[in-house]
């Protein structure tokens, strides 16, 4: 076993899909481990070294959601869900349960590899710094100690709500934060599912940090699911 290679665990019961995912992953220089059932997946995470999990939700033994739940009890390993379930509800549910990313089948291997890179960077970042107080993404910088936001070295004035929203997304950069999670964090759990206030707040924030809100550089919309700040 080569220790320098990252280990990707592919949990998928369909052989053809498993094959091409593994091929793509290996081709990219990662180690590929295979699990066909949810139980195998959980055992693999427990007993072997795994850096990223690629998880299909429709498994023969237990539901993928339960696998996420189980793993999240004791591990922060990035989980990328690949699923044929295309409903937004299911996507948001998997993300809220602790999945880091979600790809709907059919997807291209380029897309999958890009998501794996993001996930691995996450792991590295988590290992490197104990506590980050400054987050820099492109020209955007968030100073959490001073509560300040800079865009291309110029300070941007933010309302408290805009600041909370931006820092929530930046802390989870690379990950989709679901609409429900944002609303719960910013307005409290009793606020319900009214997305209008969030859309308005987001529009205000984008006008401060994006040159063209219809072609955002930083905050991407995952329609029907939530928002994500890109890392590169």
């Amino acid at each position: 076993m080569n220790d320098t290679k990252e280990n990707i665990l592919v949990v998928e019961d369909d052989m053809q899909i498993r094959n091409f995912i593994c091929y793509s992953v290996r081709n990219e220089g990662y180690n590929c481990k295979i699990a066909v059932t949810g139980t195998q997946a959980i055992n693999a995470v427990l007993n072997e070294s795994v850096d990223v999990i690629i998880l299909d939700l429709g498994l023969p033994d237990i539901d993928g959601i339960d696998v996420i739940n189980e793993i999240r009890q004791w591990s922060e390993i990035p989980i990328i869900v690949v699923s044929a379930r295309d409903q937004d509800k299911e996507k948001a549910y998997a993300l809220d349960m602790g999945a880091d990313d979600y790809l709907t089948k059919p997807f291209s291997s380029t897309e999958l590899l890009a998501r794996i890179r993001v996930a691995l960077r996450h792991v590295k970042r988590r290992g490197n710094s104990i506590k980050q107080t400054v987050i820099q993404v492109g020209g955007l910088r968030l100073d959490m100690d001073k509560h300040l936001v800079f865009l291309d070295e110029k300070e941007v004035h933010m309302t408290p709500m805009e600041y909370s929203l931006l820092s929530l997304l930046l802390k989870n950069r690379g990950k989709v934060v679901t609409t429900a999670a944002i609303i719960k964090e910013l307005w409290g759990p009793g606020y319900g599912q009214d997305t209008q206030a969030l859309r308005t707040l987001m529009a205000g924030l984008r006008r401060k940090i994006e040159l063209n809100p219809a072609k955002p550089r930083y905050i991407m919309t995952e329609i029907g699911v939530g928002y994500r700040i890109v890392e590169e």
């Binding site: 091409f20 091929y23 081709n27 089948k105 291209s108 219809a214």
Partner: protein
Amino acid sequence: MDNKNKTKIAFYQNVYSGPLFIVLATLVGAFFKYTEIPETNIAIVYLLAVVAISIFTQRYILSIRYSVLATLVFNYFFTAPYFAFEIDNISYIITFVMMVTVSLIITMLTQRIKTNAAIANLRAEENARLYKITNAISVAGSVDEIMTISVQNISEMCNTEVVLVYNNILDNTYGQCRFVKGIYDNTSSEPIKNDIEFKTIINSYENNSILRKWKTAGQEGQILALLCMPRDQASKIDVSAQRILIMIMENAVMTMERIAAAEKQNQLLQENERERYRSNLLRAISHDLRTPLSGIMGTSEMIMRMTDKADDRYELAQEIIDDAEWLHSLMENILNLTRLEDNRNYIQKQPEAIEEIIAVVLERFEKRAPGRELKVSIPNELMLVPMDAKLIIQVLINLLDNAVKHTEPENEIQLSVTHNDGSACFTVADKGSGILEKDLPYIFQLYYTSSKGAVDSQKGMGLGLTFCNTVVKAHGGNITASNHPEGGAVFTFNLPMEDKSNE
């Protein structure tokens, strides 16, 4: 017969009870006098007589008259001077006042008891009749039967001719029935076919002055039944019978409404069941198609990566991917179309920011048609439009795909959104050859492909545009296709900014 007897008895009571009790009281008084029992007791005996008379006669005038007589007789026989009237004595006046007061009170009380008893009797009769009818109605098999039973009972009760016209809300038919003294009369009535005929008949009855009419309305206030009987007959029936009549009709209509509501509930349940089944089926199909498609696309990508670009196999694999992608978008269109046509509630509208929608469309467009120029213009201010974001994005992608396919690679494509009089107006315009005039009216129809190519030529956009049309219509908007005067096709659709459907 019964009534006559009762009057006779009342007459005898009125005429004879007064003198009888006064004579009795006088005899008892004489006996007291004889046995030297104190005089005061004799006055009480007379008071007793007055009470008895009041109970029996039950009429104020008679009670007062006999209490005066009783006072006089008492005065005459038992107060000194005996066998003569003594008018000046103050105790005489007191006795008189007492007797009159007592007689009045007793009369009043007995009358009240009698009235109450009569009312109770009447209620019992009404209840018995209503109970009978309700029983009959509860086992009735149809609305027509319910109405017939009700009219028959009314006709029987009122002993006259009765006609009922009604609207059977269960299957929205109309009926008419006539009973003469409880017996069905089938001589009349043409069948009522529709709402207009029903209203005409109701009007003609309403304007008929020799008829007395009773209308019964449903919960929403619309007239569901009209009962008529000849006015001269109607004037003979008493208040109580009229009340029962109204109650019977209300009961009949209410029962009908209850059955209709239950039926509706049942239908709704069945429909929900069917809908759930279909939506599960669609989800399963969607799932089962996605998995092999991923396999095909992924495996082809794998082959491409293994192959040299100059190799023919590289291009063949690329073609497999293209076809799989086309199949994928066809599948999305079909599934969404089926869901939409199946279930209007499939659309989940939420206020969405136009800039976010356009950003996602742009991102996908760049992936699907790399290198193509897309000019976007949207309002600077935030525009929130209620929509099902995924479906509208798919609409825009379909329109853009269409534009890409029908234009040269160097042609510019335009996408714009404007705020227009309470609605958001989306436009996709290209600078291609435009749409043939004769295709314009049919372009959104199912499986219509341009007359330029054969109907079965592959990758027709028929379904794509049908999908756009269905989605936009389901949002309460409208989509149109036209040609730009300077050349090129223009697709425009609008979505209402105020969401009326969900409120």
